[in-house]
Amino acid sequence: MLSTAMINELAVSGILNDETELSQTQNELSSGTSINTPADNPVGAVELQQLNNTDSQYQQYITNGQTANTRLALEQSALSSATTTLQSVQDLVVQANSGSNNTGDLKNIATQVQSLQQQLLGIANSQDARGEYLFSGYAATTQPFVVGASGAVSYVGDSGERSVPLDSSTSVQMSDPGSTVFMNVPSGNGTFTTAASSSNTGTGVIDAGSVTNASQWVADQYTITFTDASDYQVTNSAGTVVATGTYNATNGGDIAFKGIEVGITGAPVAGDTFTVSPSSTQSIFSTLNKLVDALNGAGSSSASMAQLSSQLNASQQQISQGLNQISTVTSNVGARIDLIGSVNTSLSSATTTVKTEISNLDDVDYAQATAQYSQQYTALQAAEESYASLAQLSLFKYLS
């Protein structure tokens, strides 16, 4: 037997339960998410948290990539300008070496070179949109290249290379210090440099030379002395004779010793000397300063012209080295920009994957929820109607 009170209570609590469930489904439909508190799905809530964090982190990585990309693009543009500037200097050197210039012409060329040097200095001291210098290493707020009293340019930045993470395992370097780009350029041909003595009275011109057999080369200061117009000897820094030979201008005048070969043209006289020294490093600015000095100091005698020619050969070699150096850095920068691009692409697809997982976990399946809502609504309606009719039944109604 069910007591009358119990009958009512069971019916009412049934209706209240149906109402609660219907309300919860309605809440899901309106919020669009199924996990609103941890209790809705404890394991899912933790997973959702981690997915959201991963998604945020990916956005951060993409932002890092964009910041680095902007910087590297600026650097690339600066390096391109620097290359153009140096190529213009090379053209001037060729012009100066043509042999048809007087001292006035040479002084003009020197002035043009100086103006190109100023341009290069400006490029080396470029800043990004925030005012940070591109080529000063870590010392971002310090101008990296300063001109001293004597006209010499020195580097006052440091060698720091800042990098940012592109993803959890890849970082990218977003700057190159000025020391790497403009200062530490190998001199000569990388192994040795050549020079003609300023006291030479002949018209011999020495070129940059090349290495024929690196294993035979012994780094030392060598002097090529012409004992007469067609004979020479090579001594090392201790004075020991390491080679002698005959000079023949018509077949290129190659002088070979210790695994290297240098070429002399023109007509040296007895007593003229040429030096071959081991390479060290020389900054591009220093090279340009030397070039300007050589052009300004050239005399009109044939010996002076020969001297100038040797110097111009060395300058040309040095500028090539500088261009090589810049070219190496430029391709590095290009590779880094490509890296950012490819990491960005994979991050974009990773982000899509994460967002899909979040959606699968959290989003309400509208088809299912609407069907459920409709079902629960019908159940509630039925409960209410049946209770209304049940409450009418009583034996007392039929007793008069």
């Binding site: 069910l2 069971l10 982190q57 925030r130 971002a140 060698s159 020391s179």
Partner: protein
């Protein structure tokens, strides 16, 4: 005829009682705790006569109520379980809702803080990015303190609820005791069950079951004894004990529940279970305190890692970084019963051993012990004494005891409970963030060997000279180290990969340097664009330092969400299951005890007819008597 009259009269009286009882049932159909009453009719003893035994009508022997003790006790038991889970579920939902959805929760805020540092790492000189880091830190502290405040309010709510429950229980106990007396007196006087009083007492016991789990034992004299907890007497006969609350012996802000006994008040808090009181206490112990301590643990760990990392780098002014934030220190509360004169302070010295538990620190006369308050498990404790100071190490803490301890002295140690409320930024100066590492290294421009600097560090920044050094190779196997003034500070034989130490610094070079090669190890300058320390600072959330090096801050936050979610949903599911069980138990009970109007209507018709019939019998007896009188009237003179 006399028999007919008295038989009819007896029927009339009996059926009147029955109708009275039915009317009482109908009137009480909706009264909670009412048991349907029935009249028990007994036919009168027969009278012997020569023609046989003639019956003597009907009497009402008793009015009893429909009552089943087993079903009542079963329902009370399920009521206690249901109320306990329902209370737990409602309170747990507060914490559950506080943690809320993951997009705005604690994990998201921590992630934003870490990301603001990562943004700074891309441009360390940007004051806007530095300010953003400070702001994010302040937002994080705000959120943690907001949570702590919500939990603090829950603690107040718990205390209020416990006090209110205890007072209700005491009042119900007194009423039950008073009814015990009334029932035994009534029963002695009339030898009939005092149904209404019995119903009232059962109702009170049922209400009591909502508040706490109880056991009842019926005595032979009709009194019911009530026991709570693990057998402590609440009502014995006419006497009721009193339950009171008072602040615990440590003044921690939590309440303890005391039972009055002939020998004084006894703390029965651990024994109580079931009902709203049991659910509230369970919530406080198993959910509220651990949640507060977990938030504290997160605050302590974050502050410690951020400070340590910041102090390993250089700020924007080129100075060694300082601590950026602070948190509240561990609290040690003495018991009010302590007789010794010692004082104890605590500090957190080992993050790997830091837990979310509170501890009892007690002295037994010779040594100290540290015991988890919830599980009762002892934590390993090492002790060393010098003079009147004893240093204890355990559970990630270092405890310093100074003074004289007395056997039996006890302290409550709460390592992380005060951490969040005391959390604050020590500086809001954006330049204070140490984004740069201390050193910048470079190889000499003219180096011809293959040597490279693998690493250079300053293990103890406090002794750092902040000078610039050069490592020069006089031969491929010998080096000298000179400082910026040219003085030689170290020299030695070079082994690739072996650390070269000088002036508190540590440098490792690998490869094969040539004669004349040199390496510069310089101090970073102010406004450095070096971001190496910032990159490390951004990663503190993932550093595994807790749980002996197995868990990071992110792991702990995930664990908190997981635990709260599970406990809440388990409580919710339990409540639903218990509700079904309760409905079932109540139905079973009601099927015996309840009143069904249709049944009462049918019985009313039945007794109404019987009453009319009995009245007819009396009328017939009267007319028969009138006939006899008419005979005498005719013959008389």
């Amino acid at each position: 005829m006399g028999d007919m009259l008295s038989n009819g009269l007896s029927g009339l009286l009996a059926f009147q009682s029955a109708l009275d009882t039915i009317s009482n049932n109908i009137s009480n159909v909706n009264t909670p705790g009412y048991s349907g009453e029935n009249v028990n009719l007994v036919s009168g003893p027969g009278q012997a006569s020569s023609s046989g035994w003639i019956g003597n009508g009907v009497t009402v022997s008793s009015v009893t109520r429909d009552y089943n003790d087993f079903l009542a006790q079963q329902t009370n038991g399920v009521t206690s379980s249901y109320n306990q889970l329902n209370t737990l579920s409602t309170l747990a939902d507060s914490i559950n809702n506080m943690l809320g959805s993951s997009s705005a929760g604690l994990s998201a805020t921590l992630q934003s803080f870490s990301q603001s540092i990562q943004t700074l790492a891309a441009s360390p000189s940007s004051s806007a990015d530095r300010q953003a880091v400070i702001s994010q830190a302040q937002t994080l502290i705000s959120q943690l303190q907001g949570y702590q405040s919500t939990l603090g309010q829950l603690q107040t709510q718990v205390n209020t609820q416990v006090a209110s429950e205890v007072s209700t229980i005491t009042s119900l106990a007194q009423q039950i005791a008073s009814l015990n007396q009334q029932i035994t007196t009534a029963q002695n006087a009339t030898q009939q069950p005092p149904n209404q009083l019995l119903d009232e007492r059962d109702n009170l016991i049922s209400q009591l079951s909502q508040d706490v789990s109880v056991n009842t034992v019926t005595q032979s004299n009709g009194a019911i004894n009530v026991f709570i907890g693990s057998g402590q007497p609440l009502v014995v006969g006419d006497n009721a004990s009193t339950l009171t609350t008072q602040p615990d012996q440590f003044g921690s802000g939590q309440l303890q529940v005391d039972l009055s006994t002939p020998s004084g008040n006894v703390n029965i808090t651990p024994e109580i279970s079931g009902g709203t009181l049991g659910g509230t206490l369970q919530f406080s112990q198993q959910m509220l305190t651990p949640a507060q301590n977990t938030l504290g643990q997160i605050a302590v760990t974050l502050s410690s890692l951020v400070n340590t990392q910041n102090q390993a780098g250089l700020d924007q002014n080129g100075q060694i970084g300082q601590a950026l934030m602070t948190v509240g220190a561990p609290t040690v509360l003495p018991s009010s019963d302590n007789q010794g004169t010692e004082s104890v302070t605590a500090s957190i010295t080992n993050l790997g051993g830091l837990t979310t538990s509170n501890y009892y620190l007690s002295y037994n006369g010779t040594s100290w012990a540290l015991v988890d308050t919830a599980s009762g498990v002892a934590a390993p404790l090492t002790s060393s004494t010098s003079g009147t100071t004893t240093t204890l190490t355990g559970a990630g803490l270092t405890l310093t005891v100074s003074g004289t301890a007395h056997a039996g002295d006890q302290f409550l140690v709460q390592p992380t409970a005060a951490a969040v409320s005391g959390m604050a930024m020590l500086t809001t100066d954006p330049t204070a963030i140490a984004a740069a590492g201390p050193l910048v290294t470079s190889a000499g421009a003219n180096n011809s060997g293959s040597g490279v600097i693998q690493s250079a560090s300053v293990p103890d920044l406090a002794t750092w000279t902040q000078d610039d050094y050069t490592v020069s190779f006089t031969s491929p196997s010998a080096y000298t180290v000179t400082n910026s003034s040219g003085a030689t500070v170290a020299s030695g034989t070079y082994t690739a990969g072996s650390p070269i130490d000088f002036d508190g610094m540590d440098v490792t070079i690998t490869g094969a340097p040539a004669t004349g090669d040199s390496f510069a190890i310089d101090a970073n300058s102010a406004d450095s664009g070096d971001n190496s320390n910032a990159l490390l600072l951004a990663n503190v959330l993932n550093q595994n330092v807790l749980a002996g090096g197995a868990q990071s801050i992110n792991d702990v936050v995930n664990g908190l969400v997981d635990t709260v979610g599970l406990q809440t949903s388990q409580a919710q599911n339990g409540t639903t299951a218990q509700q079904a069980a309760l409905t079932s138990a109540q139905s079973a009970q009601q099927s015996v005890q309840g009143v069904n109007l249709d049944q009462q209507a049918a019985e009313m018709v039945q007794y109404q007819q019987a009453y009319q019939a009995a009245a007819e019998v009396i009328a017939t007896a009267q007319s028969l008597f009138n006939s006899v009188l008419a005979v005498f009237a005719q013959t008389g003179t």
